[in-house]
């Protein structure tokens, strides 16, 4: 009996042993295509007609583009599962997948620590205003001339967490060790146990009363540009904003304006609306701390994520169901 086919979209960087083991229960195929157009052609030519499971990475969108309705319409009829290697799965139109009876999984939890760690690094970097001086030092000007404005301590500052999922809750515990006072807004209020006693506030109150605002929510139709001009105007003058979620939850152009006006004192960003493109107004701003989507970029976390995604593939192949289906498909 021939093995079922699995399509790999992207690279395996760490979990080579586990990937090899998966290769014993499935035939792995990879695209030769290096563009969306070519990939769709490969689909149309029947190259993937026997594919049952897709393992895809965030970076594979550089070749296939988004897994939107158009792309999904070209995917083979036998395809039943897409195992996505990442916590955020906004690149995939889940609704369109459901309509085609394709089940989607993501990688929750494994990303929590690493993302919250980068989140904390950015909070400190932005609040303390380190970037300007770090650049001055590297240019042989020590702290800079004139010296940059002083930073601020996190002790006693109100940290507003927008999106109290695994990452938000993980961040809260770390931020408390720095003396920050957490409060959160979420679609739904969490139990005391889960929220660790953090105050639940309305979206508007979160904006109005937070000294530091951390964005930890998924990107979808409801949350796109949830932070824009109107929201900046509600915030405390001199607010610090950190985003390790998805760039598009914040209107990047409006952010640049708010920074220039001084409404927002500084930001720490790990994600951008049109990665890898960044608004030039941000790149030119020395007062902000910018990382190129490093949230889970460690040997340990990347390995854990790959293994989790491989396990989802194995579960699909051996048991006909995914380990961690995305929220929208839990009742499918």
């Amino acid at each position: 009996m021939s093995k079922p086919q699995l399509l790999l979209l992207g690279d395996i960087d760490h979990a080579h042993k586990e990937w090899k083991a998966l290769g014993e229960i499935a035939d792995i195929v990879e695209p030769a295509a290096r563009s969306r157009e070519d990939f769709i052609k490969e689909c149309k030519d029947g190259k993937y007609d026997n594919v049952k499971v897709i393992y895809r990475t965030f970076q594979s969108a550089a070749i296939t583009g988004l897994v939107d309705e158009e792309l999904i319409s070209h995917l083979p009829k036998n395809l039943k599962f897409i195992a996505h290697n990442g916590a955020g799965y906004d690149q995939i139109d889940v609704h369109a997948c459901t309509a085609r009876d394709i089940r989607v999984s993501n990688v929750p939890t494994a990303v929590d620590d690493a993302t919250a760690d980068v989140n904390m690094f950015l909070i400190l970097g932005a609040l303390r205003g380190f970037n300007t001086s770090m650049v001055a030092l590297r240019n042989n000007h020590w702290r800079g001339s004139p010296p940059p404005p002083l930073g601020h301590d996190p002790q006693g500052k109100v940290l507003g967490i927008l999106g109290m999922g695994g990452i938000g809750r993980n961040l809260m515990k770390k931020a408390e060790a720095f003396g920050m006072k957490p409060q959160y807004h979420n679609r739904t209020k969490l139990s005391e146990e889960l929220s660790g006693g953090a105050k639940y506030v309305s979206f508007e109150e979160l904006l109005k009363t937070s000294d530091v605002l951390s964005l930890n929510l998924p990107l979808n139709k409801q949350t796109r540009h949830i932070i824009s001009t109107k929201e900046f105007e509600l915030m405390k003058p001199g607010v610090v904003i950190v985003n390790t979620a998805r760039g598009a939850v914040m209107d990047e152009a409006a952010l640049v304006t708010a920074l220039d006006k001084g409404q927002v004192a500084s930001v720490g960003l790990d994600v951008f609306e049109e990665e890898p493109k960044i608004h030039p107004g941000l790149v030119a701003n020395q007062k902000v701390m910018l990382l190129p989507h490093m949230g889970t970029w460690t040997v340990e976390t990347q390995t854990k994520m790959e293994v989790w995604c491989i396990d989802n593939c194995r579960s699909a192949l051996e048991k006909g169901k995914l380990m961690s289906p995305v929220g929208e498909q839990k009742d499918m």
Binding site: D113, S133, A136, R143, E176, A177, F178, L291, M294, W297
Partner: protein, 333 residues
């Protein structure tokens, strides 16, 4: 105000103007004669000590006070007037003040240990995370317009061993911050703390700490015993790929040896806020992207600087009015 009152007001000489704790300064200025140093050089200061400063009672100093007069060494201390009884330093580190010379002249020195604790521990964590996660190269690559190109994978802190050298206030503050990141902590100190004081962190010998730690963070003062505590020999004992963080004093580490070990890859990354010869930095370190470097910003926040200024002024006030001082340096307690 009567002439008598003016004559009897103690004189406090501020080596740097107060920039944050303004209301405290105003309060102090109402009961003492406060003035900013006007001397433009060490020689001029020596002259002024025989002239306009011959009856000063207290000096308020900061870490940048030595830029004009040079360090408060034996030569300078010996020239201070007999009316000068207090040097109130607004920083935690006072290695630039010759304490023995002060004691010999009956001058009490106070520093400001507590206000610096949180800000220094916060910066320590920033440098620790940045170095361990290898974030510095990615900061640069992004600004060069190459987003994530060629960026190396860093490491997670969860399950790694953090060795704290110097378990004073700052060391313990770092321990409290490090714990929620899943770091296992060990410490070495001149003398072991009681288990309660050490908050459950195990004490190890210096050699053990060097060989067991994935990350080493320095939180001890600079003095005769700690200068170049870490040299090539000590680095050799460390784990391959160790991460070193220093927010204490640059001279505790042999900077050239550290730069060399970073270049060879023995040290995977460093996070530094202090340097042997600030503001000069070892050239090889400057050129190494795995060195996350900040220019001595350990306490550079409005809140902390105000707190440091306040404490130094309060010590000066107490000294001048015969009240018990809050934070006399350890050597003089």
């Amino acid at each position: 105000m009567s002439l008598l009152n003016m004559i009897l007001k103690p004189r406090i000489l501020f080596f740097n103007p107060v920039r944050h704790a303004h209301s405290k300064f105003q309060e102090l200025s109402a009961i003492a004669q406060t003035e900013n140093l006007s001397s433009n050089s060490r020689a001029e200061f020596f002259k002024d000590l025989n002239g306009k400063y011959k009856d000063i009672n207290a000096i308020y100093s900061t870490s940048s006070s030595y830029a004009v007069t040079g360090k408060f060494d034996l030569e300078l201390i010996e020239r201070l007037p007999s009316s000068l009884k207090f040097i109130c330093h607004n920083g935690a580190g006072y290695d630039a003040i010759d304490i023995d010379a002060c004691t010999a002249r009956g001058i009490t020195v106070t520093n400001a240990p507590d206000p610096v604790t949180n800000a220094t521990a916060d910066l320590t964590m920033f440098l620790l995370l940045g170095a361990l996660r290898k974030l510095n190269p990615s900061l640069n690559i992004l600004r060069r317009g190459e987003f994530k190109k060629g960026v190396d994978f860093g490491h997670d802190p969860q399950g790694k061993t953090l060795g704290i050298i110097g378990m004073g206030r700052i060391g313990r503050a770092v321990k409290r911050r490090a714990e929620p990141f899943g770091l296992k902590i060990i410490y070495h100190n001149r003398n072991p703390l009681s288990p309660a004081e050490a908050e459950g962190v195990p004490y190890v010998g210096f050699g053990e700490l060097l060989s067991q730690s994935d990350i080493i963070s320095l939180h001890l003062p600079l003095n005769g015993n700690t200068r170049h505590l870490i040299r090539a020999k000590e680095i050799e004992k460390m784990k391959d790929g160790v991460v070193i963080v220093n927010t204490a004093r640059g001279a505790i580490i042999d900077e050239a040896a550290m730069a060399h070990a970073l270049e060879s890859g023995k040290i995977a990354a460093v996070g530094l806020d202090v340097y042997e010869n600030e503001p000069q930095i070892n050239k090889s370190l400057m050129e190494n992207e795995y060195a996350l470097l900040t220019p001595h910003l350990g306490t550079h926040t409005t809140e902390t600087l105000a707190s440091m200024e306040s404490l130094a002024m309060e010590n000066a006030r107490r000294g001048c009015f015969g009240e018990p001082l809050l934070t006399v340096v350890a050597e003089q307690k």
